[in-house]
Amino acid sequence: MEAAAVPAAETTDGIPTAVVAARDLTRRYGEGDTAVDALRGVSLDVADKKLTAVMGPSGSGKSTLMHILAALDRPTSGEVWIAGTKLGQLSDTEITKIRRQHIGFVFQFFNLLPMLTAEENVVLPLTIAGEKPEKAWLEDLLKNVGLTDRRTHRPAELSGGQQQRVAIARALVSKPTVIFADEPTGNLDSKTSSEILELMRDSVDTLEQTTVMVTHDPRAAAIADRILFLADGLIVRDMPRSEPGEVIAAMEELSAD
């Protein structure tokens, strides 16, 4: 299987122009005979103000790719740039700064803090950075995600869908350069999933929020502007916005190989 060609726009001094860019990423877990290559040379540029989906069967390396793009993990070789900054050998403190300015997260299991109310959870990234939320922006945000009447509830008092709305608002609140969403619908029923996907699509359309979403749900991938397929640690296909049926077909085609 050939690696799909990925456009590589670069400035004159070799820094990729894309908001998130990766070059020749490999990631090896373990050593010797038991070593596993989760990524075997992945390069990509994430398009600004677009929703990019990363798809692939279990073990394809899609989660590893997202962890490395989001600076949660380091590649064995290769480079990642976020907003023009090479992550390379950045210190923990420098990466913390990148997270505050440029990265938002949406998790499969929501990862809300149980002792905080919905609103407190939403503004937490700002609290951590020592900033105050802009009142009007926060109100808009809570209204957009439909949490205005749930703002004082704690996570335990919210449904799964509501919890994920809180998590999406939390990712949006600091207007990050990019949001990474890790199987955002993986823990939700299909009706709720649709609502959450609608919300994510909406945030890209209205707020122009660049988003990278890892998923194995074809319906989720179908809301993306671009779908990257991973298999055995390589990008094997690069599709533009597609219908769920096309995504399923592409998946079947891949697993047939």
């Binding site: 989660s63 962890h67 989001a70 600076a71 949660l72 993990d73 923990d92 403190t93 913390t96 997270r99 505050r100 990265i103 997260f105 998790f107 499969q108 299991f109 990862n111 803090l113 149980p114 002792m115 905080l116 407190e120 937490l124 990234p125 609290t127 951590i128 950075a129 939390r170 600091s174 890790d182």
Partner: protein
């Protein structure tokens, strides 16, 4: 971020409260100690200040030296002819003389001496005409007047059922005699005088009863208004004999308070508070470590949201600060109750001290809160640093483990080094010679602390083998739950090890005390067996306060009595320090088998008024030989040159003799009111019920004299030491309670962590009661590990100390029975600790537990 930490505490109420509980006991102990000792000091202070009310200047007797750590010294009296001279001085408005005694024993209606448990049986004169100086006030009746009247203290009157008009027997100097109670009195403004008693007489009667004819102990002077105290002091000065001093009241109060020094008690209690806090720190560190391991996803999420390591560290430290402060505040106020409990404990063990109003000083508040919070903060540092190592990726990955610190590879080497250094320090501190006391104690103190750390750091490695041995009964008794319990205990060896270590500390100290105590008992008993060849010993009813010589004298020449040989107890100052001085008669050999190194049994008969004998250790230390002359100063200030006539070998367990022993002739010449520490008696046909009866009949005039055989003497003598040991056990129990909290914490957190697993076990058919059994056995196995480690460490320390004190008469004797008892106590601790966690585990809803995320 701060609010996140605070809200986290509110969210985890039970866990936070259990963590705080670990510090509460130690802080309560600090606060209780201060409250109790301040209250006692306040009582003493009121007594002393009150005894000089309306007094500006005080004349009192002053001994040449005090010998406070030994037999003490009776303050010399002065002639009452001084009083009229003082009254005539310029600027003196009023002056009153009085006599006092601390040996006026009241005898209850049952014929037995009212037990003061080592507190003084006070007696003093009151002059109804000089009411302004009277420290007491009547609660019933009238002031005593004439040779047959007495007023007694209210507490004794009510506890012994005496009323005004009753007669009461009193023993002071000479045989007991009866008085009519004219009144009941109390010390003005003092809450309680503890176990002390007092009897009041008019001055001539008191002088007679206390055997101080024509003498005074104190003159209180009230100056004319506007007259300077210094003027009166300089007027009085030339009139004084050498054994008396004049001071202004403030100086005298300060001087008097020196005899009520309870700083020692305070230090001891604070030391136990320190132990409880030390154990608490272990428990907190362990509890926080577990909590942090369980909250990895939370910390990781915070990191992905942009929290820095420093912010994570701060949030854990802030949490510890709040928990520590909360625990300290609770402990501070619990101290009020603990002070009462400690006091009842002391009273139960025979130590009843005076009490004023309860004192809750600012210092108590500050020290309790600062120390409690600081200890919690210190204990949180390591867990907090672990929290900073949680990688952000743990937010998305199931079952992440904490990455090891970069020093981890040195872990085993470091912990082994710590253990070896600690053992070296403790061995050096006990066995090495030529180290001064202070550095030695420091070496020992830090060595023992380090030893606890060292054992705890290495304990993780013995958890598996220990669990295999200690868990075997659990397996055979508990079946499947027993096996699971044993395996659960070894699942996280580091966690089990530090939980057990907290209990280890308490049990090591308890074991040490037990072995050390056993050694002291054994060497004392050996010494008595070797020395005591008389048939009977006569001592005071409390065995320790010396009794008036009249008791022994009254037995001489009585039918059925062969030999009577007294041992006088007093003090002297020679060769640069204060010493216990004893006095014996020529026939001492009939009661005590003396092992002469130089001289023989004829030495006691040759002492006269110029000779003394000593033991070989003292002679060797001061290079004394037969014929050496030593200048000896007596409490009155007189000095005599005494010649060494004999040297004996004292057994390791000690002897009844002081560093110098003189003849009773000389002793009685230099001590106006001599007393015997014991009188040894032989009868023609040894010990028999009839002979005991004869002696008791002969001593019926001395209610304070107790007739006892050798074995009874041993038991009576060791009784108070055993009380002290029991008191130590009770105080150490506090730190065991803290470690019990530690086991509860670990189990509660473990149950929480294994929710899904317990749900699975229930789903495949484990009953609620089997779940409880499983948790209980795990708890017992952990507690037994603590006990096993503690008993080993305690025995190790006791062996070293026994070796170091071999020459001071401490032998190593292992108290099997007590150690078995400690093991049972550990099992009980395990069972108690499991109650709450087991109940929580058994209550889990199977369905919810399985879905638990």
């Amino acid at each position: 971020m701060l609010s996140v930490a605070l809200k986290g505490i509110a969210q985890r109420k039970l866990r936070s409260a259990l963590t705080a509980l670990a510090i509460v006991v130690g802080v309560a102990m600090i606060s209780g100690t201060y409250i109790l000792t301040d209250t006692i000091n306040n009582g003493f202070n009121t007594i002393v200040v009150n005894s000089y009310k309306n007094t500006d200047v005080v004349i009192s007797g002053e001994a040449a030296f005090k010998n406070t750590n030994g037999n003490g010294v009776e303050t010399p009296t002065f002639s009452d002819t001084l009083l009229p001279k003082v009254k005539k001085l310029d600027g003196v408005e009023a002056a009153a003389g009085s006599v006092t005694s601390d040996n006026v024993k009241l005898i209850g209606k049952n014929g037995k001496v009212v037990d003061t448990g080592g507190a003084p049986a006070l007696g003093f004169s009151v002059d109804p005409k000089e009411q302004q100086f009277n420290p007491t006030q009547l609660t019933a009746g009238a002031w005593p007047k004439g040779p047959d009247q007495v007023a007694i203290d209210k507490a004794t009157a009510s506890s012994q059922g005496f009323d005004v008009g009753d007669t009461i027997a009193i023993q002071a100097v000479g045989p007991q005699r009866r008085f009519t109670i004219s009144g009941i009195a109390e010390l003005t403004g003092v809450g309680s005088i503890g176990a002390a008693t007092f009897a009041l007489f008019d001055l001539p009667t008191a002088q007679k009863v206390f055997d101080k004819p024509g003498q005074l102990d104190v003159i209180r002077i009230q100056s004319d208004p506007g007259v300077n105290k210094d003027q009166i002091i300089s007027e009085v000065q030339p009139l004084l004999p050498p054994t008396a001093v004049v001071r202004d009241t403030n100086a005298q109060v300060k001087e008097d308070k020196k005899q009520f020094n309870i700083a020692f008690l305070q230090y001891i209690l604070l030391a136990f508070a320190g132990i409880a806090l030390f154990v608490g720190a272990f428990v907190i560190a362990n509890t926080l470590s577990i909590t942090i391991a369980q909250r990895m996803r939370e910390f990781a999420t915070l990191r992905t949201l942009g929290a820095s390591r420093r912010q994570v560290l701060r949030s854990v430290v802030v949490e510890a600060f709040v928990i520590g402060l909360f625990g300290s505040v609770v402990g501070l106020f619990l101290g009020l109750a603990l002070a009462k409990l400690l006091n009842s404990l002391f009273v139960a063990f025979g130590i009843d001290l005076p009490k004023g109003n309860t004192v809750f000083a600012t210092r108590t508040v500050i020290v309790s809160l600062v120390v409690g919070t600081l200890v919690t903060l210190l204990a949180s540092i390591r867990p907090a640093r672990r929290a900073t190592r949680v990688p952000p990726i743990a937010a998305v990955r199931e079952g992440s483990v904490l990455p090891v610190s970069r020093w981890a590879k040195y872990g085993p080497a470091v912990s082994l080094t710590v253990l070896i250094v600690a053992i070296a320090m403790v061995m050096l501190g006990t066995l090495a010679s030529g180290i001064a006391t202070q550095p030695r104690l420091l070496l020992l103190g830090f060595g023992v602390l380090l030893l606890f750390f060292g054992v705890s750091m290495n304990a993780a490695r013995v958890v598996r083998p220990l669990a295999a041995v200690l868990g075997a009964p659990a397996q055979s008794l508990g079946g499947a739950p027993g096996i699971l319990a044993r395996d659960n205990a070894t699942r996280n060896p580091a966690r089990t090890a530090s939980t057990a270590s907290a209990l280890m500390i308490g049990l090591a100290l308890v074991t040490f005390v037990a072995i050390f105590g056993q050694g002291v008992f054994k060497s004392f008993e050996d010494a008595v067996d070797q020395l005591f060849i008389a048939d009977y010993a006569i001592t005071a009813t409390n065995t320790f306060t010396p009794i008036d010589v009249a008791a022994g004298k009254s037995l001489v020449g009585k039918p059925g009595v062969s030999d009577v040989t007294p041992i006088r107890a007093g003090s002297a100052h020679f060769l640069g320090s204060d010493h216990d001085l004893t006095g014996v008669q020529a026939n001492i050999g009939t009661g005590v088998k003396i092992d002469w190194k130089q001289g023989n049994d004829s030495v006691p008969g040759q002492l006269g008024t110029t000779g003394f004998f000593t033991d070989s250790d003292y002679a060797k230390a001061h290079d004394l030989h037969i014929g050496s002359v030593v200048n000896v100063e007596f409490p009155s200030g007189t000095r005599r040159d005494l010649t060494l006539k004999g040297i004996f070998e004292a057994p390791n367990g000690g002897s009844p003799f002081g560093d110098a022993t003189i003849s009773t002739t000389l002793f009685d010449k230099e001590n106006p009111r001599p007393r015997d520490e014991m009188v040894l008696v032989t009868t023609p046909d040894g010990v028999s019920d009839a002979n005991t009866q004869t002696l008791e009949d002969n001593l019926s005039g001395f209610a304070d004299a107790k007739v006892q055989t050798r074995d009874e003497f041993k038991t009576n003598f060791l009784k108070p030491i055993k009380s002290v040991l029991n008191l130590l056990y009770a105080l150490l129990a506090l730190s065991v309670i803290v470690s019990l909290v530690g086991i509860i914490n670990t189990l509660v957190l473990t149950v929480y962590e294994r929710t899904r697993e317990i749900g699975m076990l229930r789903a495949v058919g484990m009953t609620r009661s089997q779940v409880r059994t499983m948790i209980r056995y795990e708890s017992i196995v952990t507690a037994l590990m603590g006990a096993a480690l503690g008993i080993v460490v305690g025995t190790f320390l006791a062996v070293l100390v026994a070796q170091a004190l071999k020459n001071d008469g401490v032998v190593f004797a292992f108290p099997f029975l007590q150690v078995v008892f400690f093991v049972i106590a550990a099992i009980i601790v395990g069972i108690l600790a499991a109650i709450l966690p087991a109940r929580r585990a058994a209550r889990l809803n199977v369905l919810q537990a399985l879905q638990y995320e």
